[in-house]
């Protein structure tokens, strides 16, 4: 036998066919019209042995410059953080990763309880009443929040700040097209949402105001002022947030946000080229029955023992079909587990300490750039772990030079904002040492 995942032997096959009452496997496929039957062999590479796979895929992996070997200053929505060793040990337990959606609660209590704990942790961090069991990623969660706002308010315009991640804005636009909604972007001023422009664009048709906290430039938005505008008429207030930042920043829930979304990637999930990560979705009790995706609830069994089940399923596609609050089915359960384990490992003290290290180190770096004569954009703003510097050369060229020195440079802001050509967003997490920061500054000396 050639295939270690396929246990049917010739003897088995013979016995099974006899039991079915057919003489050949082909008979089982007789209902496929001749015309559409595939003749010959599909044109794929021949099967590889296990050592062959390791070699071939190992070759592809080794072609990639990775942050295990290079010092990375890339962020812009995806961050390299400390991943407690326990995370991978737990998510490698196959009772978790080889299970599916916990439809049978009696044999899925592990998953259900882990999700219930995840929902609790996200609610705590965001300062919201409740959270769901996960979404695909931060940007699609944000897009769902915008769509849900339109559904709830029956309004047709989504106001989104240009300081929200550009790819998230793109996803919202694609989604809005399907729902026949209008997306209006709010201008930025000095690296934060322009409140005058927001006030002007806000009107009776506004379904929601969408901002990011900290925003795409790393700056901390003035949620208190934005909330006043967002709630001045019928619109909802939607905040996309880096959950790690909420270890030190006042949570959006305290500012009256109606929906808080984001990506739990900073907790225990590697960058892995952009996915899978782990979207989260938190909201108020008032909006509970409009939430997209799965929710786990606590209940009891026939003996009065505490247990957990999927609940409020009347919102979901398998029950409500075309009237469901979303089409989401599979979500990011295993990554929600990874995030839960990381949040548990960091815990109350660790999340605060890690968040503080980010803010301290990023501010050290920002100050050092200024002291060394660099132009730091929007420098008056408070930041979390990112800031923007202006260089004398295109970021792409600069990053090529940095790479020679073992450094993965920052994000090229000019990619999305023509007014920010030669601007680089630099992310500093707890993993970057003072020495690495100082080295980056020296390496950029010639292009300031």
């Amino acid at each position: 036998m050639k295939f270690r995942y396929l246990p049917v032997t010739e003897q088995d096959k013979k016995e099974m066919m006899e039991s079915i009452g057919v003489n050949s496997i082909e008979e089982l496929f007789a209902d496929i019209p001749e015309k559409v039957r595939f003749k010959g062999e599909i044109d794929l590479k021949e099967a590889l042995s296990e050592p062959g796979i390791l070699k071939e895929l190992g070759r592809m992996a080794s072609k990639n410059v990775n942050s295990g070997e290079y010092t990375s200053f890339l962020g812009a929505g995806v961050y390299e953080h400390y991943i407690p060793s326990v995370v991978d040990h737990i998510i490698s337990r196959s009772e978790f990763y080889t299970a599916y959606t916990p439809y049978q609660p009696e044999i899925s209590q592990g998953e259900l309880q882990a999700i219930f704990e995840f929902q609790t942790m996200i609610s705590e961090l965001t300062g919201m009443d409740l959270a769901n069991s996960s979404m695909y990623d931060g940007p699609t969660a944000l897009s769902e929040a915008a769509m849900m706002s339109a559904g709830q308010t029956k309004k047709k315009t989504i106001l989104v700040s240009k300081a929200v991640h550009p790819e998230a804005r793109e996803v919202i636009k694609t989604n809005a097209k399907g729902q026949n909604l209008t997306v209006v972007e709010v201008e930025i001023e000095d690296g934060v949402t322009n409140l005058d422009d927001l006030s002007q664009k806000y009107n009776d048709e506004t379904a929601c105001v969408v901002v990011q906290y900290p925003n795409f430039f790393g700056n901390v938005e003035n949620l208190a002022e934005i909330e006043k505008i967002a709630h001045s008429k019928k619109g909802l207030f939607v905040v996309s947030s880096n959950p790690l930042a909420l270890g030190v920043l006042k949570p959006p829930g305290k500012f009256g946000a109606d929906i808080v979304v984001g990506d739990a990637q900073p907790f225990g999930i590697s960058a892995q080229f952009g996915g899978p990560h782990c979207g989260f979705f938190a909201t108020t009790k008032k909006l509970m029955r409009k939430v997209p995706g799965r929710l786990v609830g606590q209940t009891t069994d026939d003996q009065g023992q505490r247990g957990f089940v999927l609940t409020l399923q009347a919102r979901e596609q398998h029950i409500r079909r075309d009237k469901a609050t979303s089409n989401i089915c599979s979500n990011q359960a295993l990554n929600a587990l990874a995030a839960s384990v990381a949040m548990s490992a960091l815990g109350k003290a660790g999340i605060k300490e890690m968040a503080l290290q980010n803010i301290q180190k990023a501010n050290y770096a920002k100050k050092s750039f200024i002291n060394n004569g660099f132009t730091v954009a929007f420098s008056k703003n408070a930041i979390f772990n990112e800031f923007v510097i202006k260089l004398s050369k295109p970021v792409k060229e600069v990053n090529e030079i940095l790479l020679q020195q073992g450094i993965i440079g920052g994000y090229d802001l000019g990619r999305d904002f023509s007014e920010f050509e030669n601007h680089m967003t630099i992310a500093i997490t707890e993993l970057r040492s003072k020495e690495e920061i100082d080295n980056l500054i020296s390496a950029l000396e010639g292009v300031k």
Binding site: F29, S72, L74, E111, S330
Partner: protein
């Protein structure tokens, strides 16, 4: 077994389970960095446990969970096949986990090569002209595909195609995705053979038809043998044919949706191509299209120029982005590893064995249960618990009784058009011995329903917890822990 406390209940102030390097820069007073009104004053109530406590907690939880590695998991429509361990090893290589989506293309040529080769392989497997790997799961792929169809019609000045037709046996995500893409759903009936009723299809199709969404084999595990005529009916009316690839495990190397006349296809890499199900995700739901829909694919598309791979953003008619970055890369790596492990002959054997296993179980169980459709099935089949229901034993009871024997039950009460439905998908990775044991248990339960219905009605008897009160859960929702 006792309840496992919540991790919050295990917490004690002062315990930690992390190890961060100490701060090596001069510390600044926090309120010089952040205005006071932005500083969090109340710490989130997160766990405070030691590392061993944490490990014991999650180990205890894992022991309260059933996966494919724990035992047979014949959950229909979900393709709960074995998840190869080498996939996990490969996906954890540093060159795959520690790469950032915004690194320059030159520094991620290996990742791009892999994705490009995966795209090409999926094009060949499905018979489509171009594939995008952006969508995160099946439902996300459905919505993406429908948005492509909408863009196609609108580009032709065709703004009145507002209806998507779905069979009554369709998965819930099909109509839900149609709604999210801005369409209304029309339901087409199944006939007595469990196949789409062609006369009814002719009736409901029209100038307002944007698309027909179809799973083939369908969700009853039956091949839509009139697929060529159906394609003709839809295409003649100017509509497009959408293929929900959740059931591709039945036809690898045997028939390709592209050759059946489908214009758009999504695949569930977490089903057919062994991306692990993860307790409900993450998945990956690539979408393949025929030539006339290529211009609308989400941007960017991974392309190749000589030996160099790159992101092609130059797609002026694209529907835009559906997912940040480039899809669920980690799942795509696993699926690619699987395809390279199996090769063309291996994939074909996957489907042959999946169909053989399903038919074997079907015929052995048929005498004991109602079988609403009797032709050969493909990779899965449905039974009805109607006969047992008359004895007071519902399909739900039989599912719960299976738990006592260490099995994950089949999918139940889906598709909706089969009364007391049991939908069984053994997959190709199970041995005949496992199938035989399961068959024996099913027969035993059918007999219990006749002679000793209470034992079934009161099941499960051996699980860590009994049947849970779902009504109260929904009526008085408790969705998070709150400190007493």
């Amino acid at each position: 077994m006792n309840n496992q406390p919540l991790i919050f209940e295990l917490s004690k102030p002062g315990r930690i389970s992390y190890s961060l390097p100490s701060l090596d820069v001069t510390e600044t007073v926090l309120n010089e960095l952040l205005p006071n009104d932005l500083i969090r004053d109340e710490a989130p109530e997160l766990p405070e446990v030691s590392e061993l406590q944490l490990i014991r907690h999650y180990t205890a939880l894992s022991n309260r969970n059933h996966g494919v590695d724990s035992g047979f998991y014949p959950l229909g429509s979900c393709t709960m096949k074995y998840n190869p361990k080498i996939n996990e090893d490969i996906a954890r290589l540093k060159g795959f986990t520690h790469i950032h989506p915004y690194q320059s293309e030159d520094t991620v040529q290996g990742a791009l090569e892999l994705l490009y080769d995966l795209q090409t392989s999926l094009e060949e497997i499905t018979g489509m002209d171009e594939v995008t790997l952006q969508p995160a799961a099946g439902a996300h792929g459905e919505w993406t595909g429908l948005m492509l169809i909408r863009a196609f019609h609108e580009a032709n000045g065709d703004f009145h195609r507002t209806k998507v037709i779905c069979p009554d046996s369709a998965h819930g995500t099909n109509p839900a995705s149609a709604t999210v893409a801005g369409f209304d759903t029309i339901t087409v009936r199944s006939n007595e053979k469990g196949l789409v009723d062609l006369d009814h299809l002719r009736e409901v199709v029209g100038e307002d038809t944007a698309a027909l969404m179809l799973t083939n084999p369908n969700t009853l595990g039956l091949f839509e043998e009139n697929i060529v005529e159906m394609a003709e009916i839809i295409h003649n009316a100017g509509g497009k044919l959408y293929y929900d690839g959740a059931n591709s495990n039945a036809i690898l190397g045997i028939a390709r949706p592209g050759d059946m006349g489908f214009d758009v296809v999504h695949l569930n890499l977490h089903k057919t191509f062994t991306g692990p199900h993860g307790g409900g995700g993450p998945g990956s739901g690539p979408v393949g299209v025929k030539k006339d829909l290529i211009p609308y694919l989400p941007k960017p598309v991974i392309a190749k120029d000589g030996d160099r791979y790159f992101f092609d953003y130059n797609r002026p008619e694209s529907i835009g982005r559906v997912k940040p970055y480039y899809g669920n890369f980690g799942i795509n790596v696993r699926a690619y590893t699987y395809i390279r492990t199996m090769g063309p002959d291996g994939l074909r054997k996957v489907s042959e064995d999946a169909v053989l296993n399903a038919n074997y179980m079907f015929r052995r169980l048929q005498p004991y249960f109602e079988a609403p459709y009797t032709q050969h099935c493909k990779h899965e089949f449905v039974l009805s618990g109607k006969r047992q229901k008359k004895l007071g034993v519902r399909t739900l009871d039989m599912a719960k009784r299976l738990l006592d024997f260490g099995y994950h039950p089949p999918t139940i009460y889906f598709p909706l058009n089969v009364e007391e439905c049991l939908m069984i998908e053994p997959t190709e990775t199970e041995t005949k011995e496992t199938l035989d044991e399961f068959i024996d248990v099913m027969i035993q339960i059918a007999k219990e329903a006749e002679g000793n219905p209470e034992i079934v009605q009161e099941a499960p008897h051996h699980t860590v917890i009994g049947r849970l009160d779902e009504t109260t859960a929904a009526r008085k929702p408790i969705l998070r822990y709150e400190k007493a």
